[in-house]
Symmetry: C2
Subunit: 428 residues, 2 copies
């Protein structure tokens, strides 16, 4: 079959008719496949079941500092839990706060705190006539929703293979003191899979910001989520904290991570890290906001994962389950689209997503057609602020949940839908 | 020994000298006793250790609605967890959101939400020129700190044996649309042990409020925390939700509860409840704030506590451990102070505290003297907004943590200190 862009209208119509038959057959099959979110599979969850045996009724409940983890005490987390989570955020354990299940909640809290109280003595952000945020796109819908709910104006910036377009980021950050922050998923980014280059990290750390209290929200959600075990096949990320200190901007960053995709998405622990002064300020607010987080679950995690080496060897088991799924998506996309010559997609070395670029204006329709055939993808547009992808091209593919056979089937449906959407558009 | 108020100066000086010797002996003993917070004892925590065996590596992880509790899903809690927690807040399970370890965090979130977004279409509270809050006193310091952190002006109202002074509450609520809320610990109140009378609950539900969006924050922290097993010796609380509906003010209340003092203070679950519309609104904000709460721990709690009967029988075990401690405090206070005729204190039928009223102007000094002798009480003033007890009389006694023998010793130190503080004051 020749490339679509070399076909004449008759050939395209014939192809469309053929695809419509294929699509009808998919619809008739009554599929029910959900690839909407980056959920771990049952097999992945099973890897962490021994976590649940780490504390039982006959356990020792005393932390290394002598706290009975079943009782009240310590808002910011057990010392040993800080040490564990420090591995995931590349930070001194003393700069770490350990939270509950959701690192997103720590991010929301931090934005809310800066709005209400400012940071390190700065004017509360809510006192400005509207603040602004830099949003590398495509990005994570939940980040964008936090900005939207607080009425923070989002400014999209393109992602490049080295991270966000730093010329643009620098220009925007320097332009207005109301530009207060940037969302970053710096490693195996959601959804592009990109890991920020050392140069990008250094530019973020050292760039001139109109706002003294500009903050980089560094959501290192996939920091240990490699798909390959050999170091040569793993992305490396420069530590933003050290880069900020070196650049003389020690308070510019706030890092986040969680074990949601290490142990249990429904029962993990999270962490944030920042400079000592910034963490002290967070802690003073936290002590008003909450009695504390689940210390029993913190101790379970420490006993199960142990340390950086423990995390790494546990993540190899995840990789073994995820790798075939990423390969299947790549194979089926190639099989379905390479001859036609439409669509491009990423081949990440870690994380949870493959980012698919449909032909211009075809993402929404492709996802709609897939849904009608029983294959739920992430909504087109979700990876852009306000759910509006200006080119209507990006679709986030989340391969983790379905078994390989279902995944292959879902991707075959999807490629059929992309081609149909494209032909609808060119044939009118 | 005669009452202090019948003694002449010489007699009081002799008594003071005698007490100073007693105090010196306590100081020399090098005590280290902490009664500052309402912490469960180790024996109480042990009662819930079987909770930790409810989910292990070979468990069934599927909720009754088919959710794998280890994975993402449901922001507002498992259906069975809502049903369990509904028992603790006297509410339809559909009106319940199940949270993480800390019900205080749900309260903080709710205040923050109303400040940022208003409630059910009302103007965001932060857009007023300062809002106000009714604070029955003595009360819970953590409640007051939430108001203080947001700059909400607190208006103290006296507690009576029937709950807050409702004449005052009604007058204040009707006086100003900027009066937006009231803190209530309606059963076995912190620290007075008072349970609101039916009439108080009905007046709260039906009173005229200048603000249409006035909210009663109903922190039912001790709803199931009786000290006695026979129903005649247990306080009953009228359901505020039903009373609000009956009074035509169905959205006036937000209820809170937790298992912090049922299972584990360091690893329990919490809940909030309100009208369906109010809970729907909370849920829409929660879905931005967090991915969800710990569902594994929710299922553990359901399997361990089961239902209202399960909670009640579990709480009987707590009562058996707590009762002797409350009795000891009462005995030692009586032994130390009744002849002297100074100080009054409560004899609650549940909850976690005994509220002590020292002679005028003597609370702070009594607590200070006790601390110097190695006995840490809750700071005097903590039970009042801004930490300022206008009469300097109230001291919250938290008997739960120390073993009975230590408790008796601590109370003997404390009564000695109260008498010394009083004599210092009258003798100059």
């Amino acid at each position: 079959m020749p490339r679509y862009d070399t076909m004449n209208t008759d050939q395209l119509r014939a192809e469309q008719a053929h695809l419509q038959q294929e699509y009808a057959a998919y619809k008739a099959a009554g599929l029910k496949l959900n690839m909407a979110r980056g959920r771990p599979s049952t097999e992945q969850l099973n890897l962490s079941n021994p976590l649940l045996d780490m504390l039982n009724s006959s356990s020792d409940f005393i932390s290394e500092e002598g706290i009975d983890v079943r009782n009240y005490g310590t808002t910011t987390g057990l010392t040993e839990a800080k040490r564990l989570m420090a591995c995931m955020v590349d930070e001194d354990p003393e700069h770490v706060v350990v939270g509950g299940v959701s690192s997103l909640n720590l991010m929301y809290n931090t934005v809310a705190q800066f709005l209400d109280f400012g940071c390190l003595g700065s004017k509360p952000w809510s006192q400005y006539d509207g603040i602004k945020w830099i949003c590398p796109c495509p990005g994570y819908d939940r980040h964008f929703q936090i900005c939207e709910t607080f009425g923070i104006k989002m400014i999209p910036v393109a992602m490049t293979p080295d991270g966000p377009d730093m010329d643009e980021v620098e220009r925007i950050a320097a332009s207005d003191e109301r530009v207060k922050g940037i969302w970053c998923v710096p490693k195996y980014s959601n959804p592009t899979g990109v890991t920020f280059s050392d140069a990008t990290v250094r530019r973020l750390a050292s760039m001139t910001c109109a706002a003294d209290d500009f903050r980089i929200f560094w959501d290192n959600a996939y920091g240990v989520h490699h798909l390959h075990n050999t170091p040569e096949c793993q992305d490396k990320l420069l530590d933003l904290g050290a880069a900020c200190v070196e650049a003389g901007n020690p308070h510019r960053y706030v890092k986040f991570a969680s074990t949601s995709k290490v142990t249990f998405a429904g029962g993990g622990i999270s962490a944030m890290a920042a400079s000592q002064e910034a963490i002290d300020e967070v802690t003073s607010h936290l002590s008003i906001q909450t009695i504390g987080y689940d210390k029993i679950n913190q101790l379970r995690h420490v006993r199960f994962l142990k340390d950086a080496a423990g995390i790494a060897s546990h993540m190899e088991k995840h990789a073994a389950l995820l790798r075939p799924k990423f390969e299947t998506v790549d194979e089926r996309l190639t099989a379905g689209l390479s001859e036609a010559g439409i669509g491009t997609w990423t081949k990440p070395r870690g994380g949870y997503f493959i980012s698919f670029e449909a032909p211009l204006g075809c993402a929404k329709r492709s996802v709609e057609l897939a849904r009608e055939a029983g294959v739920i993808m992430t909504s087109a547009g979700a990876t852009w602020p306000y759910g509006k992808d200006p080119q209507d091209t990006n679709v986030r593919i989340a391969p983790s949940l379905p078994p390989v056979a279902e995944l292959a089937q879902a991707m075959d449906v999807f490629t059929c839908c992309v081609k149909l959407a494209y032909l609808e558009r060119v044939l009118g």
